[in-house]
Amino acid sequence: MKTHPKQAPLTKILTGIRGFDEITNGGLPRARTTLVMGGAGCGKTVFALQLLVNGIHQNKEAALFVAFEEKTSQILANAATFKWDMGELARNKLFFLDAQLSPDVVKSGEFDLVGMLHLLKVKADELKATRVVFDGIDVLLGLLDDPIAERREIYRIRDWLAETGLTGLITQKVGPVELEQRYGFLQFIVDCVVVLRHQVVEGSAFRNLRVMKYRGSSFLGDEFPISLTAEGLQLTNRGPAELRYEVSDERVSSGLPRLDAMLRGGYHRGSNVLLSGAPGSAKSTLAGLFAAAACRRGERTLYVSFDEGASQIIRNLRSVGIELLPHQKSGLLKMYSTRTRGPNIEDQFADLRATVRAHRPACLVVDPLSALATKLSHLASADAAQQFLDFLKSESITVVNTSLMDGITTDEATATGISTIADTWIHLSYLVQDGERNRALTIVKSRGTGHSNQVRELKLSDQGVTLADVFVAQGKVLMGVARWEWEQYEQAEKNRAQVATDLKRLQLRLAQAEAAARLQVVQTEIEAREAELAVLDRATGSASQLFVDEQGILRRMRHADDESAAVSASSAHGGSQVPKRRTNAARRRSAGS
């Protein structure tokens, strides 16, 4: 065993590969050797190139690339598919050494890398390069074709890296098991080992990355899904530092006023809404309402559908009064339809991401997210989906996802992990009652908004979509015909009560009228009595006046002396005699008449 050359304390260089720097706590070991191994098509060369490109872009660090497997022109052509400005870099900061030995090179005896490493040293000094990649070391090893020579040359590379202070990355294609075992020593002599894996699960391709070893550093040793994007390779895990996004108090209409009211104003801007439900429970309709409302507000909207064409969705939504076609024509709305059975799922999400970046929507519909269910059952894909939703959240895009789900408590919801990332979860279900099915809407949860706990009935017609209160009678939620019957029954009850009230009112009026009539009789009677009394009074009054008058007349008729004076005088003494006499006189007069 060779001894390790003396090494400075471990420092790291950032790779710029999204997610990778997080799981390695800062990137690859500086001035040491890293081995990236994996099968064909795993992205080893992309990983290596990305390390160099990012070094140049971010730190202006020049780099060397030794290509054992492919021609430089091939590598440049492949790299041109990424947004790296590779041609420009290759001229100034990146040196490619075409180390592919053509097939007609004859091998006669042992060779070594002394010369090549010297050439690289010269080039590194010229460019002031700090990073070097040996791409496809397995090709070189295969050519050496001698276990001792293989080890010797690998040690030579490692020692050379340590001497020059360059950060080295070696990629190695891992093929059949026996080859893997033969070159297994590589893993032991390098400081860091990254394993890339390409596997096919149920017909879908997945790429994974795992840090197998990192001498002198902590790292996350899990297998993480990776995807290839225009920026290169990236980890699709949710890194610890990624849950940072602005939250908004702004509300966005769901497109259904009653639902907005139930949510106390609509969805939160930038939130993630999950519409779950059985097939045909109007998930797409609600999603369509949301999209149409967004377009009416003038907001750019992206409608992503799986396994259903855009024109079909537009036609279906028109049947319930939702018009998307004008918005699509105006360019506000973009319909993006794709197949679930297609490219690798990470790549699919990468495509989606690119579409989002191109269209810059404020609102987005994914219908249905669960179309990916078979793929989502794979943990890596669930991560990819979550990562995509996280990305949307970081862009403050309001997202409505539909998800096929028969019940709220199905494992599917938790398996996909979508329910946990959803801020608002609305479940649509069928209520089967008295031989018919009706749609019911429930808000399962809604983060940061008060919301109604009541179930509502969702009614669809060509006029549009409405939410109605549901009736709860005898502990049962009533909908549809049952609810209509209940309404009829209630109406009849109401009518009956109305009639009873009217009757009562009538009876009271009669009683009132009778009382009034009685009052009238009494009044009249009072008046009659009064009149009688008045007559009586008048009668007695005239009678006494008559007496006085008559007396005068009588006296004058009898020529009496001035009796009155005497009477007046005597009355002072014995007036009592006068009425007696008068009475007598009256009596006499009556008798006389």
Partner: protein, 97 residues
């Protein structure tokens, strides 16, 4: 193999890239000279280039590993890598057209 071209100008022009005193390089020099002397007598030309002194020449000649022997003439250009210890293989290249 022993056919004589009848001319003084060598028909076999070789260039051998070595890396200083590296064991493989030292071996290659002696092997090349021995084989050429034995089979081509004075009808060859062998230039030995130390890559450590002339890296850019090596780069322009597309030399990657050491030692590398290049047959410049006759055309087409051919390369043999290694210590040239496998004489049969070497001769196939040197005598080939």
């Amino acid at each position: 193999m022993n056919r004589s071209p009848g001319k003084k100008k060598p028909s076999l022009v070789l260039r051998l890239y070595v890396a200083g005193n590296a064991p493989n390089s030292v071996r290659a020099i002696s092997n090349a000279q021995a084989v050429c002397d034995e089979h081509f007598a004075a009808r060859y030309e062998l230039e030995i280039v130390d890559l450590l002194d002339h890296p850019h020449r090596a780069l322009s000649d597309g030399v990657i590993v050491t030692p590398t022997l290049i047959r410049l003439s006759p055309l087409p250009v051919q390369k043999v890598i290694g210590t040239l210890s496998d004489t049969n293989r070497l001769l196939l290249v040197l005598a080939g057209q």
